[in-house]
């Protein structure tokens, strides 16, 4: 049975090996280049501290026109290769057997359907695992420079393209393809479903699910310029929200309508003085303690700022949690595949 699965699918395995190699051919030289450029920039800023700021090199790195393209190619590749695996290995694998009736040939040899499916799943999911590992080693290594230059690695496009996630995606999408093809028995439909699941998962996890894995850290600050920023670490945190809240802790969208009349007056005066339109903040007459009179008034009224963020050190916890969820869903999809194959008629 092992021999036959290999014989049947070796061409697909080979093609995906080649795809991976092509991706490596893009990432290895560019990754090297960026790493060296970063080291160069570090040396430069150490020598010319007046010109370059060593703590923020984002202005000097990744700014060329081709850098954007390379970055896009890297993200597309790391997202796309697991998707392609799900679409062109996971989905057709069973569907083609059903479509061409060869399942009836295979299932009337002296191998039980359970064994047949188990060996097939083991091979293909095993391949997806290996493929995901190679892919993530490449992509994570490539992203190293980018990560070092203080990047938030939690957001969409960064989170899924590093660490455990490429492995989770490869295995999960392959299993989804398997399940969809066992369910609907049509390659095209299985392709469409696998693609749909991919889109749904990438969109929903980044925006609605991932922020809630762990209770975010909450910081509060007085009203005033930069007071809140001073309390949020700069390196790689994921800021989920920044709000101005009133004395009851209720988040305020637009300050003016809800502000106490005294503060409203100060704001209005400031706008007139600035000849400004609504919302433009102009320094009014300095208050006795040197602060902004509007901020002072709002502070007195109990207003303050609140931010919620996930600290950078939680990154690997988040990776483990999300990859764990995907592996759980992979197991469900595999279980459903067994049900469809074993319990339904050929």
């Amino acid at each position: 049975m092992n021999w036959f699965v290999w014989r049947q699918h070796r061409k697909q395995f080979l093609i995906f090996g080649i795809l991976l190699a092509a991706f490596a051919a893009l990432l290895i030289p560019t990754g090297n280049h960026y790493w060296h450029a970063y080291q160069q920039a570090l040396t430069n800023c150490a020598q010319h501290p007046a010109v370059y700021n060593c703590s923020d090199l984002t202005d000097t790195l990744f700014v060329g026109p081709s850098d954007g393209l390379i970055r896009i190619a890297e993200v597309l590749g790391t997202f796309g290769l697991p998707l392609l695996l799900g679409l062109f290995v996971g989905s057709p694998l069973l569907a083609k057997e059903y479509e061409e009736g060869t399942n009836k040939l295979a299932w009337t040899q002296s191998v039980s359907r359970r064994k047949w499916l188990t060996i097939k799943l083991a091979w293909v999911v095993g391949f997806a695992l290996l493929y995901g590992i190679v892919l993530t080693l490449l992509a994570t290594w490539w992203s190293h420079t980018l990560n070092t230059v203080a990047l938030n690695r939690f957001v969409q496009g960064h989170f899924e393209t590093q660490g455990l996630m490429p492995i989770a995606y490869s295995v999960f999408l392959t299993a989804v393809g398997f399940m969809a093809s066992a369910w609907f028995r049509k390659t095209l439909l299985a392709l469409a479903i696998t693609f749909g699941v991919f889109v749904l998962c990438t969109a929903s996890f980044a925006n609605w699910i991932r922020p809630h894995y762990m209770t975010p850290v909450t910081v509060t600050a007085h009203m005033g310029p930069g007071t809140l920023d001073g309390k949020i670490p700069t390196n790689g945190v994921w800021v989920l929200s920044r709000d101005i809240v009133d004395k009851n802790g209720k988040a305020i969208g637009d300050i003016f309508p809800s502000a106490p009349p005294a503060c409203q007056q100060i704001i209005r005066q400031a706008e007139v003085r600035g000849n400004g339109h609504g919302g433009i903040r102009v320094k009014a007459v300095p208050s006795p303690n040197g602060g902004d009179p509007i901020d002072d008034c709002l502070n007195k009224a109990g207003y303050h700022q609140v931010a919620k963020y996930q600290p950078a050190y939680r990154y690997w916890d988040f990776q483990r949690i999300e990859a764990g969820i995907y592996l759980g869903m992979t197991a469900l999809a595999a279980g459903a595949t067994y049900w469809f194959v074993l319990k339904r008629d050929a």
Partner: protein, 291 residues
């Protein structure tokens, strides 16, 4: 007859609210070659799939080679099955299929299949998708036979073949049967072909078993009667009318006569051939549907 290779009791298969097969009672003796005939949609494919364990029955029971059909290696190793569309892995060559057979079966006669395909001059290294329909059918049959099954179930294997390929296929089959130890059930629309290779007949129509017996017995029990029209209702006990046609003055009846029944002398008796009998049964089922 001795042991039974297949025995079904009230076997039925329902898809949604549609019964593809209902109350199917057949019994197939070991070593026989049975022709499974019936119009399209009569449930022939459904019955064969139930017997292989590829699908599960909605009602009733069946015993195939002494056990219920199941997805188990021991059961499957006794069965050779050839599905209607003659499925093979189109991109793989015959050699790969032989290797598949070897790897997927505990018992697989590689020497037999290699020799057989060689004798038939079928190229072993060409993708089977590029072989002719007749060659593909031969590869598929050889694969099924190389399992050395006790029971071979063939679902319209010759339907898509030209007369020469059909002849070759049936010769191969006859040869395999002659080697002994094989029970065959083969469905087909081609009644003349079936008569050539089979000794039993099963007629399915409208999802029900109409007839299941040895061909010799069937021929013996059925008569074509021609007589005056008015007497059609006076045939008496032991005579079952399968099909009747009437002209102004006389009636032609195809009847099944129980052993020892005597017929009135006014009936002219003829011996119908198996094709006529089968057609009569199919026609009966159709009228039954229309009623």
């Amino acid at each position: 007859m001795g042991a039974k290779a297949i025995q079904t009791k009230q076997l039925g298969k329902r898809y949604g609210s549609f019964w593809a097969l209902e109350n199917c009672n057949i019994s197939v003796p070991e070593g026989s070659v049975s022709a499974l005939v019936g119009p399209n949609g009569a449930g022939k494919s459904t019955l064969l799939k139930l017997l292989t364990g590829l699908s599960t029955a909605s009602t009733g029971d069946s015993l195939v080679l002494g056990s219920r059909p199941q997805q188990h290696e021991d059961f499957l190793s006794g069965i050779g099955y050839l599905a209607q569309e003659i499925p093979l892995y189109k991109s793989l060559d015959a050699n790969a299929h032989i290797e598949m057979g070897k790897h997927l079966n505990k018992r697989f006669d590689k020497t037999f299949i290699a020799g057989r395909l060689h004798d038939l001059a079928i190229p072993l290294d060409r993708p089977v998708g590029k072989l002719s329909g007749g060659q593909r059918a031969q590869v598929a049959l050889a694969l099924a036979l190389a399992k050395r099954p006790k029971l071979l179930l063939l679902d319209e294997p010759v339907a898509a073949l030209d007369p020469l390929a059909r002849h070759d296929f049936l010769s191969s089959l006859t040869q395999a049967v002659a080697e002994g130890g094989l029970t065959v059930v083969m469905s087909s629309h081609l009644l003349a072909d079936l008569e050539r290779v089979s000794d039993h007949v099963i007629v399915l129509a409208a999802g029900k078993t109409q007839l299941c017996d040895e061909i010799e017995t069937v021929l013996h029990e059925h008569k074509l009667l021609v007589g005056p029209r008015d007497h059609a209702k006076e045939l008496g006990e032991g005579v079952q009318i399968i099909h009747e046609t009437h002209s102004a003055k006389q009636s032609t009846l195809l009847v099944r006569i129980a052993k020892g029944t005597k017929l009135a002398a006014r009936w002219q008796q003829h011996e119908p051939n198996i094709e006529e009998i089968i057609l009569a049964y199919m026609g009966q089922a159709k009228e039954g549907d229309a009623r």
